[in-house]
Symmetry: C2
Subunit: 182 residues, 2 copies
């Protein structure tokens, strides 16, 4: 796993090779190939330990909680080594359902952390009781990942815009909301 | 281009080869390589003619217009051959700024069609005058593409949910909004 992570750091998913992993870790190539049938699965397992999935402490303040979920999504998808590799391997997921399932499982704890916070807000009536939390998370993650794929790094402004859209039901504006001048 | 499209249809982006394109179109390989320096650029140009970019006729009814933008995003990103190939090549975009620029340019007319409709709504006061239309489009496209990448096909329900979120500022619910029973 260390050898795989080292390669991902230096040459990325595209440059990752099972041969090189075998050479670096002094393990027989066929042993690695037996355990991980594809490069995607090898990378997925190596990265699983790297994903941030500390629970997000719920504060009870909806704006703070939503903001933290958005920030965490940006951190995981757009700033972490995991996100960088995810972008590189995302196109193989369609052709490799096993790797996709494993990636989804890796996302599981991070997703659960997000869900916990939002679920608590729904339970306390700060969000509608019948809210589609999965879609809400997909809206947040999808927007962040899309900007990342198009090469536009998510800015702090987008954190405000997405938070305001969800919390205040305020459509995103070109200029940040005016802060009260008190 | 025909030879490239034929390959994209049958073996996908992953199976596309410049050699095969050369053989099928009876053109010298080096000529193709000179014109398209990467596979991504070759695929991008072949697909450019396939993207749906008919203007979306604005009806003046905000709900209808937004719904059509969401439907078109689903059609282009999740249902078209272009979308299928886009998902396959999306991971190369990070490493290939030239192909990314070309893809963005291909998206240009489709994006312009979406923007026209929404801009008209903003101009007529049906959307806030200072709305961030780019982000609104990224929210729509990002959510659709994200679901596609995770292997969950966008359902008709999501069209309602996204439309209601934007038009009625109604957070997405797990169950469709009740239709008036009149």
């Amino acid at each position: 796993m260390e050898a795989t992570l080292e390669q991902l750091r230096t040459v990325g998913y595209r440059g990752l090779s099972i041969e090189e992993t075998a050479a670096r870790s002094r393990v027989d190539r066929s042993m690695i190939a037996r355990r991980w049938s594809t490069k995607a699965l090898l990378a997925a397992e190596a990265l699983a330990g790297q994903v941030e999935f500390r629970p997000i402490p719920a504060t009870g303040n909806l704006r703070t909680d939503v903001r933290r979920v958005v920030q965490r999504a940006i951190q995981v998808l757009a700033r972490s080594p995991f996100g960088r590799v995810l972008v590189e391997m995302v196109s193989e997921l369609d052709a490799d359902p096993e790797a996709r399932a494993q990636i989804l499982q890796m996302f599981g704890p991070a997703r659960a952390a997000h869900l916990d916070v939002l679920q608590a807000a729904a339970g306390n009536g700060r969000l509608p009781y019948d809210i589609d939390l999965m879609l809400l998370l997909d809206i947040i993650s999808g927007t962040v990942l899309y900007r990342r794929l198009l090469g536009r790094e998510p800015t702090p402004h987008i954190v405000d815009q997405l938070t305001d859209f969800i919390v205040d039901l305020r459509l995103p504006r070109a200029n940040p909301a005016q802060e009260p001048t008190t």
